[in-house]
């Protein structure tokens, strides 16, 4: 089914419900529907085959996403923080696109030679245009998202209408939100969670409050001012919110649910957050662009159970991403493709209607039985809880032994003087690769390299002791909090090549 139907259902259920809030703009489901109809008209008459968006999001995201669906054109929100060259390269890969751009980024795309309109121009034109509703093939791409490309050339993931609606109707109950419920959305528009948020909150009947440029104090203010009941953050945002709340404690009495995900969250940060917000139910969501957002969730009840557990296996689940959502199957496979038993680490494969596994220019990478290789290392425990051990590309091979960086990182993060850390492999003549821990010390602490190596040595096998420990004031991350390991490795490699 088309994602247009999700809006159609929301409107027929309650056209007067407040649906989108951003700054001064407040829009009902009926108002959104009218704007989307006109937006589809603008797109259909532009002659474009595809629509790209360069901007910070807010109202533009649901409006463009749904206008494109109704005009039956794929939609690609792009990372507005990329360099002009990188943006032009990505836009150049889209067929005959109409480029919608926030005025402040107009310069970046001006020389493109494509059809360009500013966001304000698009909204004005949509208000004036005759509504259009085109026939949509449910297997056609509704959204094309570029992967962040932290390790290689960005890939263009195609998510069909059926992928996205399977995700929404399979994981969200229609109109199940209480009147007055509100979601605070600060994930960027070009991230799969931004697309998921627009569709699932619309379907649940939850007011969507947009905070386009995240800032922790503004986030806290909006939770109070808009009576926010649910929110989703990436790890770097959670870290900043927790830092502000620890210094300036405020109650967030309306907040029932806080989901975190996007990349791995250090366990001590999760514990601090749980401690500072005892009335909030925490959810750890795991998913990939290729899987139409969330495929596993560690629920608030799971968090509470792990916190109060006595046996080790149950306590450890605080570090898991929970169990697969309805309609998603998981399988852990060895390098030779053989399915592994609980407790054994291998590559995570997933299957389900929400899983795309299809890329523009490449095609589908699903195997004959429909399984998608996530390239994430993982294991499941005896109760079906899924533990993610990092990207298989990040595996360090030291002296012939495979080492998952996450294993060492998890231990280092428990040291009181470690605020954040990442472990990478650096080329070495003797070992092939050596392990290097890059550590961000906690405020007011000054841990020694030997002290941290001892800390790991006491807890893990000898081969897991970092060969080197280096200190940094922060880790390089992309805007959704993914650590840029490649950048760190390149820095370390070039540093070791310099003559002593």
């Amino acid at each position: 089914m088309s994602i247009s139907l999700l809006l159609e259902m929301a409107v027929s259920n309650d056209p007067d419900r407040l649906a989108v809030v951003c700054g001064e703009t407040r829009m009902t489901t009926g108002g959104l529907d009218e704007l989307v109809g006109g937006g589809a008209g603008v797109i259909a008459t532009s002659g474009a085959e595809h629509v790209a968006y360069v901007g910070a999001g807010g109202v533009l995201l649901p409006v463009l996403l749904l206008s494109c669906a109704r005009a039956s054109r794929p939609f690609t929100p792009l990372n507005y923080r990329l360099s002009a060259d990188a943006l032009l390269e990505l836009i150049g890969r889209l067929p005959a696109p109409l480029v919608v751009v926030d005025a402040e980024y107009l310069d970046v795309v001006a020389g493109l030679g494509k059809r360009v309109v500013t966001s304000d121009e698009f909204l004005s034109a949509a208000r004036a245009a005759d509504p259009v509703s085109a026939f949509t093939d449910p297997d056609a791409a509704a959204v094309v998202l570029f992967t962040s490309g932290t390790t290689s050339r960005p890939k263009a993931v195609e998510l069909s209408h059926n992928n996205l609606t399977s995700y929404v109707t399979g994981t969200v109950e229609f109109a199940a939100a209480d009147p007055g419920d509100g979601a605070l959305i600060c994930v960027p528009p070009y991230h799969i969670a931004g697309v998921g948020a627009a569709l699932s909150n619309l379907y649940a009947g939850r007011k969507m409050v947009y905070l386009p440029n995240f800032e922790a104090r503004e986030w806290i203010r909006l939770v109070g001012a808009e009576c926010i009941t649910t929110a989703t953050v990436v790890p770097t945002m959670l870290d900043r919110i927790v830092t502000v709340l620890a210094r300036e404690p405020v109650g967030l009495p309306t907040l029932r649910n806080l989901a975190y995900g996007g990349s791995k969250v250090p366990l001590p940060l999760v514990r601090r957050a749980l401690d500072l917000l005892p009335g909030v139910g925490f959810a750890n969501a795991y998913g990939l662009t290729e899987t139409s957002s969330t495929i596993a969730v560690l629920t608030p009840d799971d968090h509470r159970a792990a916190l109060h557990a006595i046996d080790d296996a149950a306590i450890r689940r605080l570090g898991s991403v929970g169990q697969p959502v309805a309609g998603v199957e998981v399988q852990i496979r060895a390098d030779d493709g053989r399915p592994l038993e609980p407790g054994q680490t291998g590559e995570l494969f997933v299957r389900g209607d929400q899983v795309s596994g299809r890329y523009a220019e490449i095609g589908s990478v699903l195997d004959a039985e429909g399984w998608f290789p996530t390239r994430d290392l993982a294991f499941v425990d005896d109760h079906g809880y899924l533990f993610i051990q990092g990207r298989s590309d990040d595996t360090i091979i030291r002296g012939g032994e495979n080492i998952a960086p996450a294993e060492i990182e998890d231990v280092l993060l428990e040291h009181p003087a470690v605020h954040d850390c990442v472990v990478v492999g650096v080329a070495d003549a003797q070992w092939g690769q050596i392990t290097v821990a890059i550590v961000v010390p906690g405020e007011g602490t000054d841990p020694g390299a030997e002290e941290l190596r001892d800390h790991v040595r006491e807890r893990l096998r000898g081969s897991r002791t970092p060969d080197r420990v280096v200190f940094r004031s922060e880790l390089p991350t992309n805007s959704t909090g993914k650590v840029l390991r490649r950048e760190l490795i390149n820095d370390l490699q070039s540093a070791t090549k310099e003559p002593a």
Binding site: N13, G170, T171, V172, E173, A204, A259, G261, A283
Partner: protein
């Protein structure tokens, strides 16, 4: 067999559904006692809501039969959803916390 994604309407009430997972059984899909027809299709003017099948259905709920067929109610109506005379049942979803 009806295709996934097909939208159907009742001849005798406001009900509309979309086929989420098709099966042979859906050839016998009825609402309010009468066969469902494609959205925009012709309704039999003589057909009327059968009181035997007037328990209604719920907006946004997924209904399933024993063979795995699944339809989503996109517009609620007064008729009961049945295959022949056997009522479809609501597919209860495991409630999940909002995650995005």
């Amino acid at each position: 067999m009806i295709k996934n994604g097909t939208r159907l309407q009742s001849q005798v009430c406001d009900t509309q559904v979309i086929v989420v997972r098709t099966a042979e059984s859906l050839d016998g899909l009825r609402a309010g006692g009468s066969a469902m027809v494609p959205v925009g299709g012709q309704s039999d003017p003589a057909a009327s809501l059968d009181p035997e099948f007037s328990d209604g259905n719920l907006m946004g709920k997924r209904y399933v039969d024993e063979t795995g067929a699944e339809v989503l109610v996109t517009k609620a109506g007064a008729g009961t959803l049945t295959i022949g005379t056997a009522a479809l049942t609501i597919k209860e979803a495991k409630p999940l916390p909002a995650s995005d």
